[in-house]
Each structure stands twice: as C-alpha cells, then as structure tokens.
Assembly symmetry: C2
Amino acid sequence: MKQLAGIFKALSDETRLQMMSLLLRTGELCVCDFVAVLDITQSKASRHLRYLVNAGLLIDRRAATWVYYRVTPEPKAAAAGILSLLSSVLAGQSDPQLSKRLDRWRRKKSCGATCGAPAATRRATTGGKH
Amino acid sequence: MKQLAGIFKALSDETRLQMMSLLLRTGELCVCDFVAVLDITQSKASRHLRYLVNAGLLIDRRAATWVYYRVTPEPKAAAAGILSLLSSVLAGQSDPQLSKRLDRWRRKKSCGATCGAPAATRRATTGGKH
DNA sequence: TGCAAATAACCGTTTAAGCGGTTATTTGCA
DNA sequence: TGCAAATAACCGCTTAAACGGTTATTTGCA
C-alpha cells in the first residue's frame, strides 16, 4: 500500500506527468530533450527524472555524454497496471501544445546541432559569468 | 493534465488509499467508521475525506447526524479509469490487517452501540473536559 | 428549548517538495 | 592531458501539506 502511494505521488506533479506522456509516445528521450520540449531548467528536469526512476517508473541508460530515460520494461506489481492505464488516459487527453513542441524540437535536433538549449540561451548564460 | 495530477495527488497518501480501499469494498461508510477501523483521529479522517471529495473521487451524503461517503458513481474523464484500476490493484494487495479490523468493527457496531469511538475512549475524553 | 453526539472548520507547528542557481562529476574529443 | 558539454548533487529559500488539538456547526432527542 505504501509503495502504491509512492507511485501515485510520483505522478502527482504536472511536469512529471508530461515527462511520462512524452516517453510513452516516443519511447526514449535524454535530459536535454525534456529541457527543450518542456522549456524547463536542466536541474529541474534532472530532479524530476530521478524522482520517476526512484519510484520505479523509469529506467535510465547512459550513452556517451547523454543519459536516456524510458518507461521501465519490467514494472513491478502495482506499477504495471498504472502504467498501462496511464498510456490510455494520456492518449485521451494529450496536450496539443506539447505535441507541437515535441515535433518542432525533433526537427530542429535532426537538422544538426547537438543537444543543449538554443544558442541564444547558451550565449546569455556564458555572458552572465564573472 | 493538471486535473489528472490532482487525482494522483489525492491518492498519494496512504491513509487516503486505505479509505478508498475500504469504500471500494463496502460501498458506503461514515466518518466514525474510518475513525474506528483506521484508528485515526476524527479531524484527520474528516480532512482526508474532504480531500478525496474535492478531488472528485468521493461523494458525501448526510443522513441524520452522520455523513456517509462513497465512491462517486459518475466520475468525470480521467477519474473513471483510475477508479476502475484502483479497485483491481487494491484487490490484488488488500491489507489483511485492514480487513480484520473492518470485520471486527462491523461486528461491534451491529451488536448495538451507536457510532463513535469505543466506550473507553469516550469516557476518557469526557473526563478530560473542564 | 436545551443537551449530547457527529462532523467540519480553524490554528499553530512541523515536515516534505519544489525551485533557481551553483558546483561537482562523467565523458568524448582535440 | 586539458577543455567543453551533459548531467547529477548540493544549498538556501519558499510553499504546501499533514498533524494534533480546539472550536464551531448541524442534527436528533428528551
């Protein structure tokens, strides 16, 4: 029962729900994808993703510099049912805004350019240092 | 998406999960039943039940002095799927302790005696007044 | 009408999350 | 080996939730 509450808690945050929604659709994404698509800071993305991993909903995989996340393929007990429910529920109310951003980011990413935030943001950050 | 997060948040507390579990099994209970079966204070029971009502998972019904709660018969959107999932998941891992307490309380209640905590506690409370 | 029971609302305190911003760590590459 | 990118861990602050305890409200009954 306690574990079940933990799973629900992991899903009680909108950012984390969006992350799950993106992963259920795409299969696998790295941190920088979430940063770009959800327009959130890297630390925020990292924190929420770790939260979902700890709850047993995601697994991570390191490939070179990047860490990729995807829905755990072997959910234990309660998690299995919740995950299958989640995919159907989210399909029914998928945020069009989110889909649009995802597509746009995918195109931009495949056009070239490695991971990371758009150039403008990067330049601003660097300039702010002293 | 926000509403969905709210529903999960309502289910992220163990006490509230136990409440849902009891209601899915019994159909309808009043506040004093939760106080007796879960061995929690009245204020705690009341607060958590209201939380579940606000989340759209329960409805309440006043009958004389008592307020009865049951799972909402007309859940909206996301709630419906979650509720049906919940009943199956909870059935799979129902806490034996909880069932035992429920049965014991039911017997005690039907034997006579109105609602409220066991006599001992009631006496103590009254005695403590001044 | 007055009293007792059941319940909801309120209050002050404590605890857990969330956040932005920064620093540390891992990794690939020149 | 040294640098830059991606990510995780850390820090201080703010906010929300949970709790026990108390008070107010509703209701039935004598």
